[in-house]
Structures are given as structure tokens and as C-alpha cells.
């Protein structure tokens, strides 16, 4: 009898911890096998050309946050996946029904978090797998318990804040933060996995958001340093009706790369932004 595997039988474990709220997960690789082509060709043989890598893409609802950050915290974000934007690698297991596959030496390449009023915040990640990818995992996957059922944090006007230098009193409709972290694997002769993976630089950060303006003034479209660069951009996402900060992003010297004003007869005025910055590490 043909069976099917549905969501309750699928789970992702990264470095021993379960990733909750997954909306979609894609793990894939393209073989680097290349056919031998030669003069007088009389058979087809394949050889691997270039390093074999795989990719992992995960989209999750942000429903499971780490404990609030304090001076003893070993992480910088309460979103577990964002903490892999540094130089830390991860291994993991994907369970599907009674089967599972694993991967090692995973490195996050892109991370984005987004939310808008009335929605649950989401994150998307794309990672590259430099190590192994296949069956016969040598570590265990996590076990979901009843207590680990997460609570939903639906976003409201009061839970999102964006501070752009001196402008603070504008209602935020939505925002998204995207972080791209380059990786440089170093391969040496005689090995098919990198000897080292260098956390590249610079890290590119893009911030998109939409506000219903109050005291905000449209900036001049010319590239004027004093007008189009925000010295300090702070984005804060709080738990509804609470001062409990779930996510907080703070970026220096963000360049305003696009700005769009929209007015309509049945809605408030809105302004959309894209800010861009690079972080050197």
C-alpha cells in the first residue's frame, strides 16, 4: 500500500535543537558529475568537477524564541536561526516518516525576518552545506514534547517600532530585514570537504519597511550624505501589549536606497523604504 508523509511526520533538527513553526523546508543538491568528452569518444563516463555542495532553505513562523538576552547570553538574537549569521556552522537532521537524512558543515548565507500588522513574524534562511549530506546520520533528532508547543505572537501597531535617527512617531505597517553573509570555503588537495570556511565580509543588510507617516519628512532623492544616510536605525519587535522584546535590530549608517510615497482616497498615506548597509567583520 502506498503511503504518504505529511507534516506531522517531518521535522528539522539543527545542532540538537528542534526548529519549530516550519512552513516549508527544501534540502537539495545538484550533482557536479561531468561527462568525459574526448576525441574518438566511445563511452560515457562521469567524473566530479568542482566541490559538491548542497543547499538548505527553511521558512518558519517565529513562534519559538530563545530566552531574553542578558549579559550572560551566548547568543545575540532570540531567533535561533539568526545566530548562525556569524562564523558558526551547524549540522542537522531532517526526519520524514521513518526515514531521515543528515547534513554537516552547514553555513547560513542569507537570513531574513519579516512581519506586518496582523501577522505572525516569519523568517527565511538559505544555507549551503559543505560537509556530508545523506542517510546514516550519526546523531539524534529532537523529540517534540507537549510543553514545547509554542505561543503565537501576532503583530500589532503597538508591537513594531522603527527609529530612524530623530523620527520615532510613525506607525509601522510592516518591515523586513535581510542579511546576506558571504562564505569562502578553502579546499586543499586530497580532500572533498573544505579545510576551512572563512566568514566573508562585508555582510550586506537590507531593510524594507512601510510606515504611515506622522512626523517623517520625505528625503531628497539626490545622494546627500546628511539626508540619505540614517546614522542609527533601530527596529524593534515586541510581544503584543508587553515590553518583552522579541527581536531587535540596530544598524549604523544605513543608506536610503529607495523611498516611495503612496496616497489613496480610502487609506492613510504610506511611505515605503529600502535601506541598505554593509557590516565589516
Amino acid at each position: 500500500m502506498l503511503g504518504r508523509i505529511t507534516r506531522e511526520a517531518e521535522k528539522l533538527t539543527i545542532n540538537g535543537s528542534g526548529i519549530q513553526g516550519i512552513q516549508s523546508l527544501t534540502a537539495s543538491y545538484d550533482s557536479v558529475a561531468t561527462p568525459v568528452s574526448n576525441l574518438g569518444i566511445n563511452s560515457i563516463q562521469y567524473y566530479p568537477e568542482g566541490p559538491q555542495q548542497a543547499n538548505l532553505q527553511v521558512n518558519t513562523l517565529l513562534i519559538n524564541f530563545l530566552d531574553p538576552i542578558n549579559s550572560f547570553s551566548e547568543y545575540t538574537s532570540r531567533d535561533p536561526l539568526q545566530n548562525y549569521t556569524g562564523d558558526m556552522s551547524f549540522s542537522g537532521i531532517v526526519d520524514h516518516g521513518s526515514k531521515q537524512f543528515y547534513f554537516t558543515q552547514g553555513y547560513l548565507e542569507t537570513y531574513s525576518a519579516s512581519c506586518s500588522v496582523g501577522e505572525i513574524p516569519q523568517s527565511s534562511t538559505s544555507s549551503v552545506i559543505y560537509g556530508d549530506f545523506g542517510a546514516d546520520a550519526k546523531f539524534d533528532s529532537w523529540e517534540q514534547s507537549f510543553e514545547s508547543q509554542a505561543k503565537l505572537n501576532v503583530t500589532s501597531y503597538g508591537s513594531m517600532e522603527i527609529n530612524l535617527d530623530t523620527f520615532e512617531t510613525n506607525r509601522v505597517n510592516s518591515f523586513s530585514v535581510s542579511i546576506t553573509t558571504p562564505r569562502l570555503p578553502i579546499y586543499k588537495l586530497g580532500k572533498d570537504q573544505p579545510d576551512e570556511v572563512i566568514a566573508g565580509t562585508p555582510i550586506e543588510v537590507n531593510v524594507n519597511f512601510e510606515i504611515e507617516p506622522d512626523d517623517y519628512e520625505i528625503k531628497n532623492m539626490r545622494l546627500i550624505p546628511n539626508e540619505t544616510v540614517f546614522k542609527n536605525t533601530v527596529i524593534t519587535l515586541k510581544k503584543n501589549n508587553s515590553h518583552d522584546i522579541l527581536l531587535r535590530y540596530s544598524f549604523d549608517d544605513m543608506l536610503l536606497t529607495s523611498q516611495s510615497f503612496a496616497g489613496a482616497n480610502e487609506s492613510n498615506a504610506r511611505i515605503s523604504f529600502n535601506l541598505r548597509s554593509f557590516i565589516l567583520r
Binding site: 568525459v36 576525441l39 574518438g40 566511445n42 563511452s43 560515457i44 567524473y47 566530479p48 566573508g200
Partner: protein, 303 residues
Amino acid sequence: MARIFYDKAPVEVQALGTNFRETLIATDCSINFTSSQSPIYAVGKKGSIGQFPAAARVGDISFNFLTTITGEFQNIVGIGVTSSQGNIINYLADAIKNSTDSEASGVIIKCAGVSGVGFLNSYSFNTAANSISSSSAAFTLFGSGTQLPVSGRLSGVNAGVGDGTSVTTGIAHGRFTTMPSSLNTVLYQSDAALGERYATGTIYSTDYSINFNHNPIYKIGQEFPVTTFYTTASESLTVSEDVFNSGLKYDETASSYDIALKGLSNTAQPMYVRVSEAKEVSTSASVGLDDIIRTQKTLTAAY
């Protein structure tokens, strides 16, 4: 007129007077045949009085091929190292450079119906992490006695149909190939934080090449040489690492290295190349965007 597609143009090399032959996995091949003509001028005449042969006709043939380490060519023991594997070009280079007899016999080279007796001019191969190794070879064809340097007409050669699809294991690849540990640059350094220690370079790729000089002997009354002598050879090894040796000596110590090129089977017999009494002659460092500083050192040996 025959139009010959590449699948009917295999490159075959055969040692003269033996049954040792190999059809190489060549990716390209070029054949040239030249007849040198010089104009003659005379006092009292504006134009030339004609063009006349200035040298014997010669040909050359060169090709690139994947570095096979288990071809049809088998069971020949190399001279420089005790290897029973490798391709016929590697065997040939090994035999010439270690030869005690100066008189060379050449090898028959065939491609798409055209053939000639060639003397190995140069042979090189490369090996890099996660990449297949490719080689190149170039021969000069002097001809012999009344035999033209290049003969035959273009015609398709059926190479037959081999086995079905498979993953090749008989081509050198950077997956299992490692260089001898003595080839790694090792530098002594004193670090305030780490103390005294040795920094050992990591090898990312290696390029090998050897060039041969041959001397054809011509006699009066005959266009092509009566015999050809092998004279000298120079060998070069270029290693890419991440350690820069700023202390290159005026007279570096000579060392020998046995390079073993392995295929995709870690247990199969590799192809050996012995570089004898090589000295480091240059070192360099370069860096580009989004990469580490890579260094290169070149070692040369002479035969």
C-alpha cells in the same frame, strides 16, 4: 570529401617496435607540417630570384588529454620509479629523462588517419582540489630517412563502442591525490602569543611540466635525419600554498619528490612521477578580492 566528426578522431600513441600503445582521452589535437622557404636575392635584380628550402620539413603535433592512470597501456615498469601504472606519455617522459642512451627512437602518433614519428618536446599536467587532472603533450616530427614527418590523409577511425555509463576511476583527480609531505613549505616562526612553532603550508594545487631537447642529425644528400639524439631536459613543479617563504636561499637544498596521482579510487595504484634533485627557484604571493593570499613556489630539476 570526408567530413570527420570528433568521435572518429582518437589520438593514439604507440612506442616504436613494441606493442605498447594507448588511445588517450584527448580533448583536442593539432597537427602542423611546415616547409621552410627563404627568398634569395642577387645584386642587379630588384626582386627575389626565387624561394628555396632553408631547412628540412618538420611537423609537430600537440594535444591535451585527461590524465589517465589506468588506460589500455599497462604492465610497463617505469624506469624512474617502480610504477606499473600510468599513461604512455608519462611513461615516455619518465623513460627519456632517465635514459642512459642518448639515441632516441620516438613514438608513433596517430590522429584521424594522419600519423608521424614524434619526439616528445614537452609534457605537463596539473592537479587541483576537487578537479580532474588534465595533461598536455607536444611532439616534434622530424621524419627519418625517406619517411616524411607527417603522412596519411584524414580519415575517420572507429573507436568502437565501450561500456555504458559509469563513473570513471581511471583519471587522476584532486579528491584523493596528495603531494608528498616534504613538498609542503615549513617555516620556523616565533610568535609572541603562540611561542616558537613551525608554520606548515597547505597545498591547494600543483602543476608539473617537463621540456626535452632533441638534436636531429642530418647528413648530406638526405632531407630527413639519420638519427635523433635526446640531449637535455628541464623539469618544473609549481606548488600553490598559503605560506610565503621570504627566506629563499641563494643555494637551496636539492630534494627528490615522488608525486603520486590518484584517481577516484583511494585504493587503486596511483601514477608516479619522480622529480629528482629539485631546487626551489622562485616564490611568490598574490591576493585578489574575496580570496585568501595564495603563494606559489617553483622547483626545477635538470636531466
